[in-house]
Amino acid sequence: MTERILEVENLTIDIPVPSGILHAVQDISIHVDRGETLCIVGESGCGKSLTSLAIMDLLPKKAIRQAARLELADESIFGISERRMSDIRGNRMSMIFQEPMTSLNPAYTIGDQLTEALRRHRKVSRGEAKDRAVFLLEKVGITAAASRLGQYPHQLSGGLRQRVMIAMALMCGPDLIIADEPTTALDVTIQAQILHLLAELQREFNMGLILITHDLGVVARIADRIAVMYAGQIVETGSAAQIFTEPLHPYTRGLLDCIPIPGKTQRGAHLGAIPGIVPSLVGQMPGCHFASRCPLVDDHCLAGAVPLFDHRDTNRSIRCLRADNEDTQKISQEGVA
């Protein structure tokens, strides 16, 4: 019996800009179970970071958030007061950000910043909070943890800082962790370590994890389920196995063609690229968002908004009129390749 940690239904984010309304995120529905890793994949600007901020209720002031359901462990967290929301943030769900270099306050020690969340949400003594901080710093692989507590962020490297951020997110033992491109700003060698660490901790503490990334290599290694986003919408969701072995949406296929797969991609062979550019999300867009870049596009695609269809495979859905047809799949594979 799996336990549903997060349920998001029809999340929409609009941002008023001088030239109109930017429909940054449209009709997103996702869910995460305990012990499950959901990866949200997409290129920059597709709305994946906004989605994560919207779940935490940390959107910029201008943004307008709408949702049919936003529940954390069967309890609605939509439209609740800032006060109640702040009781939840950092406590039952926490977030790890992209920029470890700037995400820690330069004026306070690591120890202070680690313990303050715990002391905000739990009745613990300073000593107990400190013990927990040391325990978690060791968990995230920081040596001489006790002595690190007195150090300031500028004394640590980027990789160490991100480990501290992870420890910080774990302080209150959350049900859900949202990691927004946690490795993008780090050296390639550190990236793998941090991801490995995240996956390990998620298993050990049995949390739900949402990992937001544009790096499919990352996804392949730790995702249970994947949601692919394009231009503010989810275009395809399914289990990691389903998506990697049988991508259906032309965009997903394009993405997978962009990464080399060891053993499969021939040395010297051309990696794919998706032609065209992401459309502007300001104003209404009739038809499929991917139409302008899609090899399969036909008149139906441009006629009206394309809904997210349930696929015949369980737990799988796709936003495409053409991809689920055997013939077009054939054509598209030739077309894309």
């Binding site: 935490m56 950092g90 406590n91 306050n105 330069p106 303050e116 949400h121 300031y152 500028h154």
Partner: protein, 305 residues
């Protein structure tokens, strides 16, 4: 930190020496100092005597060295007009001006920091516009005119406050406002800009993501960082206010350094002018040095490195 402090101290000493050269050379600004001292209509012989008594016939470098050594020993010369030791007069008047400056700075900070913070929390709101307007008006208002206007309304029309002298704390209210008001725009703008920058920083988002209370985010995480440059600005502005007190002190008849320097200028009492320029400059240099240290202390990136 020690290295940082020593470097700043070295610069401070060099600047102080340069300032001492500048204030020493004030004697020569009006031409031949012996001629000026002897007074109009003095005979050639009188002038020659003055020159010898004061040592003006020696090379300038020697004169400066002599002056500097005496100044370092606390001997800033003798005022012919007051028939008194310059240093003792200056240090007798200094506390009044320091008190006025401190009151003015306190007034400025109490007004401008909360305004700047509120303006930054709600950019483009009514409060923000109000704060910017206050800053704009403050920067455009001549301090002496503002002082006279305060005097007219609070002193005469409403009879709320005494208009001159230093007899009670009430006497310091109007001068502090008149002196401090000119400083508020700069402090307010810096606080606002600092808060705006800090509030949009990643670590504030982290603090909010931790579920900290808005007040904790605002004061512990944001203001703590935004206030660092305000500290040095305050020290700098305090120095400016000591210099600017000349206008306010003459208007409100406050017996401080500013009033003394104005009197000395009218009497062409050069040693007194030299001494006050030197003392105020050195106080300013000390203040900025202390502000640098305080900055280093408040900013761990400087303190721990």
């Amino acid at each position: 930190m020690i290295h940082f402090a020593l470097k700043r101290l070295g610069v401070a000493v060099l600047v102080a020496l340069t300032v001492s050269i500048l204030s020493f050379s004030m004697v020569y600004l009006s031409g031949d100092p012996a001629l000026a001292l002897a007074g109009e209509g003095a005979s050639e012989q009188d002038i020659e005597n003055v020159r010898r008594v004061y040592g003006f016939e020696r090379p300038i470098v020697v004169q400066y060295g002599d002056w500097l050594v005496r100044a370092l020993q606390g001997n800033l010369g003798h005022s012919n007009y007051l028939k008194a030791d310059v240093a003792s007069v200056v240090f007798e008047r200094l506390p009044t001006t320091m008190l006025l400056g401190a009151c003015a700075l306190a007034f400025a900070l109490i007004l401008s920091i909360p305004l700047g913070v509120v303006a930054a929390i709600r950019p483009n709101s009514m409060i923000d516009r109000f704060a910017l307007t206050v800053a704009m008006i403050g920067q455009a208002m001549p301090s002496f005119w503002f002082a006279l206007t305060l005097m007219l309304w609070f002193g005469l029309n409403w009879r709320l406050l005494p208009i001159s002298g230093t007899a009670s704390w009430q006497h310091f209210v109007m001068p502090s406002i008149a002196l401090g008001y000119y400083v508020t725009p700069a402090v307010m703008r810096l606080t606002r800009a600092g808060m705006l920058e800090v509030l949009s920083s990643d670590y504030i988002r982290t603090a909010r993501a931790k579920g900290l209370r808005p007040m904790t985010v605002l004061f512990k995480h944001a203001l703590r960082n935004a206030i660092i440059p305000v500290v040095s600005l305050s020290a700098v502005q305090f120095g400016f206010m000591l210099g600017g007190s000349i206008v306010i002190e003459t208007i409100f008849a406050i017996n401080g350094l500013g009033f003394l320097v104005w009197e000395s200028i009218l009497r062409a009492d050069v040693p007194m002018m030299q001494a006050i320029v030197l003392v105020l400059s050195i106080i300013y240099i000390l203040l900025t040095f202390l502000a640098d240290l305080l900055n280093g202390f408040l900013d761990p990136r400087i303190r721990v490195s």
